[in-house]
């Protein structure tokens, strides 16, 4: 089943948000897969921060609380500390990002995923996240402020 994609246009930039995902305020998407959550940078986050040169998730086995650093992403412009959108344990990291960090930019919701976590409390985790429509509204405000800056 093809996920509906919400789109936001600001100037010449087009941002996409699959409707079936959840999103944190920090712009990290979450796909729940049973008791697990696959995470990555939203299209807005990756476009805003530029070409990813290094993407380094915490190693497998690392326990993180909601908001703890779960990855470091270094772009041409900035070094980002990625706050975990859920609490849990890192059970899988995307090793394809080592040779090909540009996957985060080219396919942020597909091959550019960062890590998979075993989630502690799935219901609480969902409750703390935004739907695609709500996140789009937030991204719109942020994108317009960015363009004005």
């Amino acid at each position: 089943m093809i996920d509906k994609i919400l789109e936001l246009a600001v100037d010449k930039f087009l941002f996409r948000f699959p409707a079936g995902l959840f999103y944190s305020d920090a712009g990290i998407w979450v796909r729940f897969e049973g008791s697990r959550a696959r995470i990555g940078l939203s299209d807005f986050t990756q476009q805003r921060n530029g070409d990813v040169a290094f993407a380094e998730p915490k190693e497998e086995g690392t326990q993180v609380r909601l908001g703890d650093e779960v990855a470091v992403v270094e772009t041409i412009k900035v070094n980002l500390s990625i706050p975990s959108p859920v609490g849990g344990k890192v059970v899988e990291v995307n090793n394809d990002l080592l040779p090909s960090p540009e996957l985060v930019n080219q396919d942020p919701y597909g091959k550019g995923w960062l890590a998979v976590l075993e989630v502690e409390d799935g219901e609480a985790a969902r409750g703390a996240l935004k739907t695609a429509a709500d996140y789009l509204a937030l991204a719109k405000v942020q994108a317009e402020a960015e363009v004005r800056r």
Binding site: E7, A9, V10, D11, K12, F13, L14, R148, R149
Partner: protein, 150 residues
């Protein structure tokens, strides 16, 4: 018809490595974007446009564009028309240089002082066209719109 944001003018300049006038186009466009009309303009990247960049081509389809070319080969103007829509205005730096009688302007790699001044003149022409396309009252081209853009 997509839900379109506020109207802005797209500036598309040639890549311009072969002539110093090409470098003038880059300086002029960046000056307008960053300082003179940061709220009213966006740049469209010509290489990306040519390679199929959907954001650039879509923008040029729905919004007015100004093509700024170094010479009469007019790569930026022709590419915009070919892949999107005819630009609303077209500026050719060799024509502006002839009008202003500025003489030698340096190299494609490094403009001299005359080249820098020519870039300022071209930037002013871009601003005039931008204001015309957005139906704004003419203001002194050297006056920024209030905010510099990063």
């Amino acid at each position: 018809m997509p839900n379109l944001p506020r109207k802005k003018v797209g500036l598309i300049s040639c890549s311009g490595e072969e002539l110093p006038e090409g470098t003038v186009t880059r300086r002029a466009v960046r000056k307008v974007l960053e300082t003179l009309r940061p709220d009213d303009t966006v740049t469209l990247c010509l290489p990306l446009f040519l390679a199929g960049g959907e954001g650039e081509r879509a923008f040029a389809r729905y919004y007015p564009t100004i093509a700024v070319d170094g010479c009469n080969k007019r790569c930026a103007a022709l590419a915009t028309e070919k892949y999107s829509a005819k630009p609303a205005a077209s500026i050719v730096v060799t024509d502006v240089a002839k009008e202003s009688g500025c003489g030698a302007i340096g190299t494609a790699r490094r403009l001299n002082e005359k080249g820098q001044r020519l870039a300022e003149t071209v930037a002013e022409k871009i601003v005039e066209e931008t204001d015309r396309l957005l139906k704004k009252k003419p203001r002194a081209a050297g006056r920024a719109s209030g905010r510099e853009k990063r």
